[in-house]
C-alpha cells in the first residue's frame, strides 16, 4: 500500500502526455472583412482551449466579444484591468453581458493590430461553470492599451462553439484555436 501511495504522489509516476498542445482551426479574414468569426464542432478531446487572435476593426472605440455555445446566463459577469498608457483602471460588467470583452478601445486601422490570448479552462467539464480569461493589447506608437480580463458564463454546458463578434474585423485579422490536453 505504501508503494502505491508513494507512486501516486511521485511526479515521476505521472505518464507524460505527448503532443499536449494542438492546433484545431484557424480563421483568417480576407478582403472586405467579416462581422463575426465562429469556430464550431470543437472537439471535446482536450482539457483546455486557447484562442490566439490578431485583429483590426472597422470602428474606432469598439470591441470584440467572445461568446460560446452555452451562452451567458443569470449570474454571468466579467471584469477587466486596463492600462491606456497614462492610467490604470478596472471595470466590471453584468447587465446584458453576453461574453468576454477583449478590449476597451480597439484600433480602427489595418495596421498595427490588436492581439489577444484567451484561455477557456476545463471547457468540456459539465460540473463546472465556464470561465475564460484573456491577456490583450495593442500599441500604436503614441497610443494603445493593455488589458487583463475574465468572464464567467454561469453555465456548466460544455463549450462546443466559439463566436467572436461585436464589430467587423478587417482584412488580415486572424484567429487561431488550439487545444491543450491534461
Amino acid at each position: 500500500m505504501l508503494n502505491i501511495i508513494s507512486g501516486i504522489l511521485s511526479p515521476q509516476a505521472a505518464a507524460a502526455v505527448a503532443n499536449s498542445y494542438e492546433s484545431i482551426a484557424t480563421s483568417t479574414v480576407g478582403s472586405g472583412g467579416v462581422s463575426s468569426v465562429t469556430f464550431s464542432s470543437i472537439p471535446q478531446t482536450f482539457t483546455h482551449l486557447q484562442l490566439r487572435a490578431m485583429y483590426g476593426t472597422t470602428n474606432q472605440n469598439s470591441y470584440l466579444q467572445i461568446g460560446t455555445s452555452g451562452g451567458a446566463n443569470t449570474g454571468a459577469r466579467g471584469h477587466m484591468l486596463n492600462g491606456n498608457g497614462a492610467t490604470a483602471a478596472s471595470f466590471n460588467y453584468t447587465a446584458g453581458a453576453t461574453g468576454l470583452y477583449l478590449d476597451y478601445y480597439a484600433p480602427s486601422g489595418v495596421t498595427p493590430f490588436y492581439v489577444s490570448i484567451i484561455d477557456f479552462l476545463d471547457y468540456t467539464d459539465t460540473n463546472k461553470n465556464k470561465t475564460v480569461r484573456a491577456l490583450s493589447g495593442g500599441d500604436w506608437n503614441g497610443s494603445g492599451e493593455v488589458d487583463i480580463s475574465s468572464f464567467l458564463f454561469a453555465t456548466t454546458n460544455a463549450i462546443t462553439s466559439i463566436t467572436i463578434s461585436g464589430t467587423a474585423t478587417k482584412q488580415y485579422s486572424s484567429f487561431a484555436l488550439y487545444g491543450i490536453k491534461g
Partner: protein, 166 residues
C-alpha cells in the same frame, strides 16, 4: 479535428560568463507565433529589452500595465530603439526572481507590423503586462534580448518556442 501538435521548442540558451545579451537567430518562418520563456537575473537593477532583426532604430513602442504592491499604473514609451518587456517587475540580482512569457504574434507574415504581448514579474518588486509594437512588416528572423544596463546573471535561461496554426 485537430490539425496537429505544435508549441515546439526551437532553442534554449543558458547564460554564462556575464553575458550582455542573448540572441536567437535564423528563426524559421514555419510557425505563426513565437513564445519566449525567460527566467533571468542581472548584475544590477535592469529592464529587459528586445530588438528584432538587428533593428536599432527608433521603430519600437509599448504600453504597459503595472502593479508594485502599492498601486496600479500604466505608462508608455513611443519611438524608442527597443521593446521593453517589463516595468516594475524588472531584472535584478535576486536571481531567479524574474520570470516572463513574451508572445510575438504573427511574426512571420510580411503584411502587418509586429506586436508582442508579455507578462513579466519579479516576485520581489512587481508584476507587469505589456504590449509592444515594432513598426516593420518584415518577418522576424532574429531576436536579441538584453538588460538595458549591466549583464545577465549566469544561469539565466531563455527558451524559444514556435506555435503553428492550422
Amino acid at each position: 479535428m485537430a490539425a496537429g501538435a505544435t508549441y515546439t521548442p526551437i532553442a534554449t540558451t543558458t547564460t554564462a560568463s556575464s553575458a550582455a545579451s542573448v540572441t536567437f537567430s535564423s528563426i524559421a518562418g514555419t510557425y505563426t507565433d513565437l513564445v519566449i520563456i525567460v527566467n533571468a537575473g542581472a548584475s544590477t537593477n535592469a529592464d529587459l529589452h528586445l530588438q528584432f532583426n538587428g533593428d536599432t532604430a527608433t521603430n519600437y513602442s509599448r504600453t504597459v500595465l503595472s502593479g508594485n504592491g502599492t498601486s496600479a499604473t500604466s505608462s508608455r514609451q513611443s519611438s524608442v530603439a527597443y521593446y521593453r518587456a517589463d516595468n516594475v517587475g524588472y531584472l535584478n540580482t535576486s536571481f531567479p526572481n524574474f520570470v516572463g512569457v513574451i508572445n510575438i504574434m504573427n511574426y512571420s507574415n510580411a503584411t502587418t507590423y509586429k506586436t508582442a504581448l508579455s507578462r513579466t514579474n519579479n516576485a520581489g518588486t512587481g508584476v507587469d503586462a505589456s504590449v509592444g509594437l515594432w513598426r516593420s512588416t518584415a518577418a522576424i528572423t532574429s531576436i536579441v534580448l538584453f538588460p538595458d544596463i549591466g549583464t545577465l546573471t549566469n544561469g539565466s535561461t531563455f527558451t524559444l518556442y514556435g506555435i503553428a496554426a492550422a
